[in-house]
C-alpha cells in the first residue's frame, strides 16, 4: 500500500509580492481600502483639506476596483 503524498504548504508571500503577481484578491482589498478611505475623508469633521481630496480618492479607488476585478483569481 502506497502512502499518500504529503505536500508542503506554499511559503507565505509578502503583500508586495502578492500585488506584483497581479492577482485579483490583494488588489481588490487595496481598492476597497482606498474607497473606504475616500468615504471617511468625505465625511470626517477634522480637515477641509482631506474633504477636498475625498472625491478624487473615491474615484481612484472605484476605477481601480473596476480594473482589478478583471484580474485572474
Amino acid at each position: 500500500m502506497s502512502m499518500p503524498e504529503v505536500t508542503a504548504p506554499a511559503p507565505k508571500q509578502s503583500l508586495a509580492t502578492q500585488l506584483l503577481r497581479f492577482r485579483r484578491g490583494p488588489w481588490e482589498w487595496l481598492a476597497t481600502i482606498v474607497i473606504a478611505l475616500g468615504v471617511i475623508m468625505l465625511m470626517q469633521p477634522f480637515s477641509l483639506f482631506l474633504y477636498g481630496w475625498s472625491f478624487a480618492t473615491i474615484i481612484v479607488g472605484t476605477v481601480m476596483f473596476t480594473i482589478v476585478s478583471h484580474f485572474p483569481e
Binding site: G38, L42, M43, P45, Y51, G52, I58
Partner: protein
C-alpha cells in the same frame, strides 16, 4: 426531446400567438435573437430612465445651467466640483450625514443582532414575535415620518409623555424636532425603529446558517456559552453582519424622505443631510449645474460603497 425540437416548439408557440406575417419572421429567428427580442424593451427602458439621465447629469455638472432660466448653457469645466469640495456648508452637511449614518448603523447592528440572537432561540410564540418585530420595516417611510412627527409633538405626543413618565422631566420642556441638540437624535431614533428589523432578518439568516454540529463539538470541549458566542457565533455571522452594515450604510447615505418629513433639514441646518442640501440647491436655489456636480459626487461615493457591498455579498455567497 432534442434541443432543436424544443427550440422549434418554443418558436412555434410564439409564432402561433402572433399575426401571420410576423409569425413567419419569428419562425426563422434563432434562440439568441428571441432572447434579445424579450430583453430589448427592458434594456431600452433602463437606458431611458437610468443611463441617459446619468450621462445628462454628468454633462450638466460641467455647465452653468439653471433649470428656471432660458439663458444659453456655458461650459464651466470643473468649477462646480472644486467649489463643492471647498464649501464649508456642504462639508457640514456631509458631517450631518456621517452622524446619522454612524449612529443608525451602530444602534441598528447592536439591537438587530441582539434581537436575532434572541429570536434564534426556539421559544413559545417566537413566530408571532418575529412578525411583530418586522412590522415597522413594512411601513412606508412617508407614513412613518408623519406618525413620528405626531409622536414627537411636545404637548400631545406620546414620546414626550413616555420620557416624562420615565424620567420625571416636564414633558413640554423639550422638543425633539425643534431642539438643535435633540433633532439629529430624533431622526436616528426613527430610522433605528424602522430598520432594525431588517438588520435582524439578515443576522438571523447568518445565525441559522451556522451548523449545529459546531456547537455540539464546543459542548464536548466544555466551551462556555460566552466562549461559544465569541469563537463560533460572532465570527460565523460576521459576513452577514457586514452585509447588513454596508446595505444600511448605503441606504442611509442617500436618506431623504424621512428626514424631509420629520425636520426638513432643520432646526437651522442641524439635520440637513446631503440629500436635503442637494434638493435645496436643485429645486430652491435652482443651481442645476452645481447640484448636478454634487449629485455626481454622492453617486460616486455610493457607487464605491456598492462595490464593497458586492464584494461582501460574494463572500457570503461562497459560504
Amino acid at each position: 426531446m432534442s434541443d432543436s425540437s424544443a427550440r422549434a416548439t418554443i418558436a412555434d408557440r410564439v409564432a402561433a400567438a402572433t399575426p401571420v406575417p410576423v409569425a413567419r419572421r419569428i419562425r426563422s429567428l434563432g434562440d439568441r435573437a428571441i432572447a434579445w427580442l424579450f430583453i430589448g424593451p427592458t434594456i431600452l427602458l433602463l437606458l431611458a430612465i437610468n443611463i441617459f439621465p446619468l450621462i445628462w447629469t454628468v454633462y450638466l455638472s460641467f455647465t452653468n445651467y439653471k433649470a428656471n432660466r432660458s439663458a444659453p448653457i456655458r461650459m464651466v469645466g470643473t468649477e462646480h466640483y472644486s467649489s463643492i469640495l471647498s464649501d464649508p456648508d456642504i462639508w457640514y452637511s456631509m458631517q450631518a450625514t456621517a452622524h446619522f449614518v454612524f449612529w443608525t448603523i451602530v444602534l441598528e447592528t447592536v439591537i438587530g443582532f441582539a434581537l436575532a440572537w434572541l429570536i434564534d432561540r426556539k421559544f413559545r410564540g417566537h413566530g408571532i414575535w418575529t412578525t411583530i418585530i418586522l412590522l415597522p420595516m413594512m411601513l412606508s417611510p412617508a407614513v412613518v415620518g408623519n406618525f413620528w412627527k405626531f409622536l414627537y409633538e411636545p404637548q400631545i405626543g406620546l414620546f414626550n409623555y413616555a420620557v416624562s413618565f420615565l424620567t420625571g422631566v416636564d414633558r413640554s420642556s423639550f422638543q425633539m424636532l425643534g431642539d438643535v441638540a435633540l433633532a439629529p437624535w430624533a431622526i436616528v431614533i426613527v430610522d433605528v425603529w424602522m430598520w432594525t428589523p431588517y438588520v435582524m432578518l439578515i443576522c438571523l439568516a447568518g445565525l441559522r446558517s451556522i451548523p449545529d454540529h459546531i456547537y455540539e463539538a464546543a459542548e464536548v470541549d466544555r466551551a462556555s456559552p460566552w466562549r461559544q458566542f465569541w469563537s463560533i457565533t460572532l465570527p460565523m455571522a460576521l459576513p452577514f453582519i457586514m452585509l447588513a452594515v454596508l446595505f444600511r450604510g448605503i441606504e442611509n447615505f442617500k436618506m431623504f424622505d424621512m428626514v424631509n418629513l420629520l425636520t426638513g433639514g432643520g432646526p437651522g441646518s442641524t439635520t440637513e443631510v446631503a440629500s436635503i442640501t442637494l434638493k435645496r440647491d436643485a429645486f430652491e436655489s435652482w443651481k442645476t449645474g452645481y447640484s448636478s456636480a454634487f449629485a455626481i459626487i454622492l453617486f460616486v461615493a455610493v457607487f464605491g460603497l456598492a462595490n464593497i457591498y458586492v464584494k461582501a455579498l460574494n463572500r457570503v455567497k461562497q459560504r
